[in-house]
């Protein structure tokens, strides 16, 4: 990265910090923790409902698909979406806020997407706030609480955009390093778990839905695949323990 570009990103990070990015990020993580606790309490079967939603979206998209390639893409997208939501729900980590250490470059698209959502929110606030302020001045009932709500919403949207700009700046400075790290991780994974991954891939390609673990097991043909599966699962367990700092179940 050129020196001027690096300087530009560093200036952006400093500006975002001045507007409270680091402090608000703590609030966001606190809200995220509470969100998952509440969700797991009131909707422990959330994954089942989400799967049904994914299947409904997939069915609609498949009706419009014209080629087999398009259909395959739609099915693949639905499978990956289900897996991504399971990962979020089980590990209590929103994909917009947490970088995957194995796929660090993936976070960038989520940062930009999240920023876009809050930008649209701010546009809505910019339109409605003056209307409700005008309404409350004219004595329209209910306009004042709505104006206060829009003002709070605008503040939250602004801080969320600020956090994303802060994280985008941090990401951009580290981007080259992260791409190299990701390439090394993928290469190492292929060397260590290539055969096991192939079993998972072939099992998933046979059906539209996610296969069960028993269906994956049936695809194991030799001791090397068994050994790789075992090592893959043990490594995943140990990564989670390291991240949680907790006791292995």
């Amino acid at each position: 990265m050129k020196k001027e570009e690096r300087q530009k990103w560093k200036q952006q990070i400093k500006l975002c910090e001045k507007f409270g990015a680091k402090r608000f990020q703590k609030v966001v993580f606190g809200v995220e923790k509470a969100k998952f606790k509440v969700l797991k309490t009131i909707a422990p079967n959330f994954i089942e409902y989400y799967d049904k939603y994914c299947d409904w979206k997939k069915k609609k998209a498949l009706k419009r698909a014209k080629t087999q390639e398009e259909k395959d893409m739609i099915i693949q997208r639905a499978q990956f979406e289900k897996m991504a939501m399971r990962k979020e729900f089980h590990q209590e980590k929103n994909r917009n806020y947490h970088m995957d250490s194995k796929k660090p470059t993936e976070i960038y698209q989520y940062l930009e997407w999240n920023k876009g959502v809050h930008k649209k929110g701010m546009i809505k606030n910019a339109i409605l706030l003056p209307i409700f302020i005008g309404g409350s001045i004219m004595g329209v009932p209910g306009a004042l609480p709505l104006a206060i709500f829009e003002l709070l919403s605008a503040g939250i949207n602004f801080e969320c955009i600020n956090i994303q700009n802060y994280n985008i700046g941090r990401y951009k400075i580290m981007e080259e390093t992260m791409k190299k790290r990701e390439a090394r991780t993928v290469k190492k994974d292929i060397e260590e778990f290539g055969q096991a991954s192939e079993v998972i891939y072939s099992t998933m390609k046979k059906k539209e839905d996610l296969p069960s673990w028993d269906e994956i097991l049936q695809g194991i043909r030799n001791p090397e695949q068994l050994k790789q599966f075992r090592e893959m699962l043990l490594r995943e367990q140990s990564n989670r323990v390291a991240e949680k700092g907790g006791v292995r179940i």
């Binding site: 292929i190 991954s197 192939e198 673990w213 097991l217 068994l226 699962l233 367990q237």
Partner: protein, 100 residues
């Protein structure tokens, strides 16, 4: 990826060199020779392409594999490990009974 590119380059280059040597410099190779040369260079390109696709397929497998394992809950990971241990034990038993 880089080794696949080198192999593609070498094999395809050999095919193309054979073709241009045979058919260049105003010399009209006879039909059978030019067909043989064209086939060689096509196979070379195809082989290089297959080697590159094989490497990309590895990355696709890795993507599916890691996404599936990461989507499992802690309890599912424990159950999966237990089932692998059972499978390993049952395949050891089979080997032992065959020896007996």
């Amino acid at each position: 990826m880089s080794s696949s590119l080198i192999i593609t380059g070498v094999v395809a280059g050999a095919g193309v060199t054979a073709y241009t040597t045979g058919c260049g410099k105003g010399f009209q190779a006879d039909r059978a020779t030019s067909l043989a040369i064209t086939t060689t260079s096509t196979v070379a390109m195809g082989l290089g392409g297959t080697l590159m696709n094989h490497h990309t397929m590895d990355e696709i497998h890795q993507k599916y594999g890691s996404a599936y394992i990461e989507s499992m809950s802690d309890e599912e990971l424990v159950e999966a490990l237990e089932s692998l241990n059972l499978l390993a034990a049952s395949s050891d038993e089979e080997k032992t009974s065959k020896l007996v």
